[in-house]
């Protein structure tokens, strides 16, 4: 314990010492150094994950996710639509036994999982998708969201079915558990190795998308309002607060955030609806842009394939369907029927992607931040030719902020607070996911847990200091690497879910499973 404390202090001291008096230059060069070292260290990994299918410009990983989601949708005969109403009933508590009151409810599991996914993916990620892939990316994002509901259903059912329950009453679950236990049960080899591989990627994903991307975009949002200052300062502040929560056990901070985040989510959607109502005459036009762009690209880099790639990529990054993270969050529910958690979880991609992400995209499109070439009706590209030119040259979260700001002048301030809180709650959620993977590898124990938590906090500083490009690439790569292992294993385990589904629907039909009168 003391050793790690001194390690942390050494790190803080290093940051302090490596800042000579001429703060501005030194800070800039520290940011640059962190940035360069980071890109060098992670480049190969990013390149591998985003390698194109030979002869095309289509990254294989995007194909992997979409094919996975499509297979699950077909295999379970569109479970996301057939059991949609039932999922709502479950969340409302219609099927909850009053005797079990006090256990984690379906609603709570859904809310916890959502607070891990609703966040910057919906605000910054969508802006990246629309900024690079044009409005057409929205269409593919919605499609990916709808298909992804089946992936979530599959992984979350398994998460509950194969979780570990400890004698002290606590639970641990997630892909690493269902992969190793499920493969053993089916007599398949290699379960343990795949579970370890997943855990390694989960840790990287927790440090990347669940941490650095969040810190990075939160910093970008803060500087939008305060003006430029070095990223490591934001990083240190965030790291200190996260440290206080996950190491210091100051639950009150986490609890307050958990209560404010849903409120912020509602406020965000509310603001988006207001922008849409004010510009209701343009909604038809915006959908026209979305459909036209989906199949032609409207001049974006890479044409319609570019739009499709961006849409699919950002949808997966935002709702995490097929990634396996939600299975960790959902496995805490004490239910007699693991499949009910699967039904509940299929609502996540719907709320996250189909509703919230689409709102963001519509606001960006309607606010006309993206510059259109009057002559051709196509979008103009920026100087580098990598993204669509915007009114103020904004990208990522700054683009969303500007889009909302053009309709509601003061909203960027609210958005800044929302972004910071979303970033914070996502970090807390992912610190838990990462920790579960870490303890799967190294065993449960105070010291091993502390090592991970300290590493997690250090990465917050790195994430805030690095520039967006390398961070976003690494974050995507790490999260998608989880999906590589997870979906591969889901193909083997999906028959277990089908058996559960058949048994459950039969009992639902026969009236054996019925609503409790409340």
């Amino acid at each position: 314990m003391r050793y790690f404390q001194s390690l942390l202090w050494a790190f803080v001291a290093y940051v302090a010492v490596s800042l000579p008096a001429s703060a501005q230059d030194a800070a800039a060069s520290l940011d640059a150094r962190v940035n360069e070292a980071f890109s060098n260290a992670t480049g190969w990994f990013v390149n591998f994950i985003f390698m194109s299918i030979p002869g095309t410009s289509f990254p294989w990983i995007v194909m992997w996710l979409v094919v996975g989601a499509t297979v699950f949708t077909i295999y379970f005969a569109a479970v996301q639509f057939r059991f949609f109403g039932h999922a709502i009933s479950l969340v409302k508590g219609d099927y909850s036994d009053p005797e079990d009151a006090g256990e984690v409810s379906h609603f709570q599991a859904l809310a916890t999982a959502l607070s891990g996914t609703v966040g910057l993916g919906n605000i910054a990620g969508v802006a990246v998708a629309v900024g690079i892939g044009g409005p057409g990316a929205t269409f593919w994002m919605i499609l990916a969201g709808l298909l992804g509901m089946a992936s979530k259903f599959t992984e979350c059912t398994l998460g509950v079915k194969y979780r570990n329950e400890y004698p002290d009453g606590t639970v641990s679950g997630g892909p690493m558990y269902y992969i190793s236990k499920g493969f053993d049960e089916l007599g398949l080899p290699g379960g343990k190795i795949l579970a370890v591989l997943f855990s390694v990627f989960c840790i990287l994903g927790a440090l990347g998308g669940g941490n650095m991307f969040q810190a990075n975009q939160a910093h970008a949002q803060i500087t939008q309002i305060t003006g430029e200052f070095p990223g490591w300062i934001t990083g240190l502040v965030f790291a200190a607060v996260v440290f206080a929560v996950i190491v210091g056990g100051i639950k009150s901070i986490a609890r307050v955030t958990e209560k404010i985040v849903p409120f912020m989510g509602i406020l965000y959607v509310g603001a988006a609806i207001i922008v849409l109502i004010v510009n209701f005459d343009m909604i038809g036009w915006a959908f026209g842009q979305i459909f036209a762009g989906a199949f032609t690209g409207l001049g974006v880099a890479g044409g319609f394939v570019g739009a499709l790639i961006q849409g699919f990529k950002r949808a997966a990054f935002s709702n995490e369907a097929g990634v396996g993270s939600a299975a960790i969050a959902h496995s805490a529910v004490k239910t007699k029927e693991p499949i009910t958690e699967g039904f509940v979880s299929l609502l996540e991609p719907l709320i996250d992607t189909v509703v919230i992400c689409t709102m963001t995209a519509l606001v960006i499109i309607i606010s006309q931040q993206l510059i259109v070439d009057e002559a051709t009706g196509n979008y103009l590209l920026n100087e580098a030719g990598t993204a669509i030119a915007t009114v103020d040259g904004n990208g990522g979260v700054a683009l969303t902020s500007a889009a909302f700001g053009s309709a509601i002048g003061w909203f960027p301030f609210v958005l800044a607070i929302a972004v910071i809180l979303f970033a914070f709650s996502t970090m807390i959620s992912w610190s838990y996911y990462g920790l579960k993977a870490w303890t799967y590898l190294f065993g449960e124990g105070k010291t091993t847990e502390l090592i991970f938590k300290v590493i997690f906090c250090i990465f917050i500083v790195i994430g805030a200091a690095a520039s967006l490009g390398p961070v976003i690439d690494f974050s995507d790569a790490a999260i998608f690497a989880m999906a590589v292992v997870n979906i591969f294993c889901l193909y083997f385990l999906m028959k277990v879910v089908r058996a559960e589904l058949a048994s459950y629907s039969a009992r639902l039909k026969s009236g054996e499973i019925r609503k409790f009168s409340h």
Partner: protein, 143 residues
Amino acid sequence: MKLVIGLDGQSSGEKALEFATGVAANSETCELIVVYVIEWSPFSFQTAEENAQRHKRREEEISIAMERVVEPAVATLKKAGHSVKAIVRHGDVADTIDDIAHSEGASQIVVARSSAGGLTSRLFGSSTANLVMNARVPVTVVA
């Protein structure tokens, strides 16, 4: 005759208990059901870690409630020669007491006057008031 007694873990709950004992003494066969509700909502927000520990916490909450509030009350009533049943459950206080009374087929609910006062009860209402307004079984509020 069946009587449901709602306890709140405070001295006002004791008064409800006393009153119910008096009623029971006048009746030949009276079953007393002592209920303690741990305020809980299935629609609150929790962190992943809190969820993972929820089952453990629930067991702890129930055993503390049993030990500190319910068992002493049950012991007192048994000593007085009544037949007693104890229930500890999580949920909304008013709804849960009403549900139990309804499903047990009780003829009356006895609760204490609301112990919360001032701003809190103005903002959130009081469980006793909610119970009186919504119960499907006659309610006696003991002052």
